[in-house]
Amino acid sequence: MSCRPTHLSGGLQRHPHLVAWMVACLLGLLLLPGVLPLAPYAIDLNALLQPPGLHHWLGTDENGRDVLARLLVGGRGTLGVALCATALALLIGTTIGGIAGYRGGMLDALLMRGVDLALAFPSLFAILLVAAILPPGPLLLTGLIGATGWMATARLVRARIQSLLETGYVEAARALGTPGPRIVGRHMVPNLVDVLFVSGLVQLSRAILAEATISFLGFGIQPPVPTWGNLLIGAQHYVFTAPWLTLAPGFALIGTLLGISGLGLSPVASPQGSVAFGSSGEHAISAVGAGASGTNLVRDTAPFSHR
């Protein structure tokens, strides 16, 4: 199995429009609230639950606040938390997986048992327990989502490092007496790029779903600060009178997640997996789905390791 980082660009090159669109959306979400005169907190008691119209393109909510403004600002909250949580999960996963794979032996066995244990407990449940006890906020939420999402990355990185240890060039470098840190930095890290790219996309999907779910349940970022999740709090009671409150954040979430899954994990566009490690891309997308209930990313590697 070849594992050059160059395979990575294949997935990106295949969907240039998608990439451009995603980047445009991301920039829009990050920059627009600063440029446009949005007022996500402005309460207008004369315009409660207005349907979409000229004044309010996406209507207003039960406090007369503009839904479009709250959606744009909310996207910044959701994506910000998700991106930071993903970075944290990748960092933890790469460190633990790297150490386990490179060192092997007892340390490896110990760390992997830890991974098994962490995978065994439903992570949404764990996050809710802690999120409810400590005062809620974006930092805590980011930390919790990141800290419960590193296990799959650790397994993938460990497997990759182990296979790299067998390659000729790593063996040659060791024979030449190259110090360990240099082998890792020079020969291994560049070969992890594709693993981290796919892991990162899977994590990002999971983190977005997790933020939305936890905030929806009321334990994440607290209103009035909007996120795509907490905009939907109580939406099931408003569907009869104000369906736009449900549809706007819902389509924003689904569109974002579809875009992410199309970016690197599309099993439809490329049956062999557009990403370097063969069909793992498809396993990864199964993992994205696992997150539909919020969080679990058990499935990408677990099914083939008969523990």
Partner: protein, 317 residues
């Protein structure tokens, strides 16, 4: 096999104890407590809070609390709910049936929809059926399940007005099967959808590999009917990863129920958990944790056993 099961049971028991100790520590060491929630903002004074905490034994040092709790536990007592004023175990037990009905049926639905769909897509590899099914699965996977629930309420209750948006027909309330099904349908679809979709994609991958394998080609070559080759020979090879996947899912139906029960006001464990977290009802949370732990470990054990039975080559623990 027996030795294997016993070893795994022992491991599971140890894991469960670790889990309980962790949750106990997290809950008791956390700032804030049930007193504020019990009294409410109007009646809260520090004196009343202190009284309540001493009544509940929360003023004792944590190791002493843990000792008492373990002592109770060994006598089969899991504490009293702070809010329901009944044994925590009974509170959870009352909600258990609703969750098990919903979760069990949703799991069955996910299996019955997901696996045949995946097989179908794999057999029609590259054709339009495959493309449509795979794309549909990807879209379902990109939909948060709580939003799927709300969307279904919007579609079926608000626009089409064919199904109720929330609640359920109580057991023994004289409701007919049809009425029960009407309440059950939307939560069931919401809970099962993402699992069915990921199971379908997973089965599709596993079946593709199995259909390309030498023994499948040989079976075709010697003239065994295609239907038999697909369902008997190829699926047998693909079954192990699919079963493992389904087993891992089983435990995560509990997570799904947290969300689905909140959306549809379904009176089960999920709703109880969310409420108990808000109210800091420690005994109930501990019983729920115990229950979740048993479910997860049980599902893992079951998966391993079925996996071994399906494929005796899996030898390693």
């Amino acid at each position: 096999m027996l030795g294997f099961v016993l070893r795994r049971l022992l491991q599971a028991a140890l894991t469960l104890l670790t889990l309980l100790a962790l949750v106990f520590a997290v809950l008791r060491l956390a700032p804030g407590g049930p007193a504020y929630a019990l009294l409410g903002p109007d009646r809260y004074t520090p004196e009343r809070a202190a009284l309540i905490e001493s009544q509940l034994g929360l003023d004792q040092p944590v190791p002493e609390q843990a000792r008492r709790w373990v002592l109770q536990f060994t006598h089969g007592e899991l504490g009293y709910s702070y809010f329901h004023h009944r044994p925590a175990l009974a509170v959870v037990r009352d909600r258990l049936l609703a969750t098990l009905i919903l979760g069990g049926l949703a799991f069955l639905l996910a299996l019955l929809v997901g696996i045949p769909t995946g097989v179908w897509a794999a057999v029609r590899q590259g054709q339009w059926v495959d493309r449509v099914l795979s794309r549909a699965a990807v879209v379902v996977l990109a939909t948060p399940s709580f939003w799927l629930g709300i969307g279904l309420i919007l579609l079926c209750s608000a626009w089409l007005r064919v199904l109720p948006s929330a609640g359920w027909a109580p057991i023994g309330g004289g409701a007919t099967l049809g009425e029960r099904l009407r309440y059950l349908l939307l939560p069931l679809i919401t809970l099962a959808a993402s699992h069915a979709a990921s199971l379908a994609l997973y089965t599709r991958t596993a079946m593709r590999e199995a259909l390309a394998a030498d023994h499948t080609r040989t079976a075709y070559a010697v003239g065994i009917p295609a239907r038999r080759v697909i369902w008997r020979y190829a699926l047998a090879t693909a079954a192990l990863p699919v079963v493992t996947m389904a087993g891992l899912m089983l435990a995560h139906f509990l997570e799904g129920s947290l969300v689905v029960e909140t959306v549809f006001a379904w009176p089960g464990i999920g709703q109880l958990t969310v409420a108990s977290i808000t109210r800091r009802d420690y005994p109930v949370l501990l019983v729920v944790t115990l229950f979740v732990g048993i479910m997860v470990l049980g599902a893992n054990l079951l998966t391993d056993c079925v996996g071994r039975w399906l494929d005796p080559r899996v030898e390693r623990v």
